[in-house]
Amino acid sequence: MKKLLLIVLLLANTLLVAQEPQSEFVPVKEVPASEQLPSAPLVITAYAFVWLAFAVYAWTMWRKLGKVEQELGALSAQISKPRTPRGDGGTRP
């Protein structure tokens, strides 16, 4: 087990030694075009998200209101309907 560990450590060390270290940083005036993050997609995403969130929320609320008003209408009609006597001629307890 100790031998195996030693071999692994030696191999890892060899790999580290084999890598060429960076000897200096090279300055540039501007970030290369490939590294620059474009602004337009971020701006468009932000505006689109706001509009979409409002649209979804307003639509959801409108639907909820419609459902509640429908339920209210049905319930009001049910309550205002005159109570029919029982078919067997008996009286309610």
Partner: protein, 218 residues
């Protein structure tokens, strides 16, 4: 309700359609360029989230004193809109930060406190949804806690070291920046009022339905 809701929605819709034209004509900020345009759709919902949290807290306090259901309906609507506007600020902010700061998110005082405030109102909604009878009183207490947090969120940029712009930026904006900002803010505010009337109307109708169910059972 329709008398208020429809005109408000129409005016807010007009502002939302014309605001991008004004924002496009506003000058670019010297260091951030185009991405700074997110500011016009980030600051209004962020500010309204704070105002809505305070409003919800005040109405909840009135509800706790007077116990009239109408205050509870308004507080519930305000809490929901705090979460909606907070979500808008939380999404537009990182989109701006990614370009301006190089990161989507940072555990900075303003951002962290805003997230906490937003989570307080999310918990308010969860409490209302799953809390059962009596949850409205508990939720009102939670709203008071949210209200107390709001001033700290606003002042956090001045109190603690942060990379978020200070509160002095908005009052000192040049007119070219300020006009589109307050124009967009008006649109967000009108939409807030319109959605509030719609939300309160739903709660009012629900209360009527509950009352009718009770009457039909008797």
């Amino acid at each position: 309700m329709r008398k208020v809701f429809v005109p408000l929605l129409a005016v807010a819709g007009f502002i939302f359609m014309t605001a991008p034209i004004m924002i496009a004509q506003a000058p670019y900020e010297s260091t951030m360029g185009l991405v700074q345009k997110i500011f016009y759709f980030h600051m209004p919902p962020a500010m309204l989230m704070l105002l809505s949290a305070i409003f919800c807290g005040v109405i909840s306090a009135i509800y706790l004193i007077r116990k009239r259901p109408v205050y509870d309906w308004i507080a519930y609507a305000a809490a929901e809109l705090t979460v909606l506007y907070g979500a808008l600020a939380m999404v537009t902010g990182p989109l701006w930060a990614r370009k301006a700061w190089g990161v989507w998110w940072i555990w900075d005082a303003r951002l962290t406190m805003s997230l906490l405030l937003w989570m307080v109102f999310v918990s308010y909604l969860l409490l209302r949804r799953y809390g059962g009878p009596g949850s409205e009183t508990l939720a009102a207490g939670l709203a008071l806690f949210g209200m107390a947090t709001s001033p700290f969120v606003y002042l956090s940029v001045n109190i603690w070291r942060t990379i978020h712009p200070l509160t002095s930026v908005v009052p000192t904006l040049p007119v070219d920046f300020a006009f589109p900002l307050w124009y967009a803010f008006t649109g967000f505010l009108l939409l807030y009022i319109a959605l509030m009337t719609l939300r309160v109307r739903i709660e009012e109708q629900r209360a009527l339905v509950d009352q009718l169910y009770l009457e039909s059972e008797e």
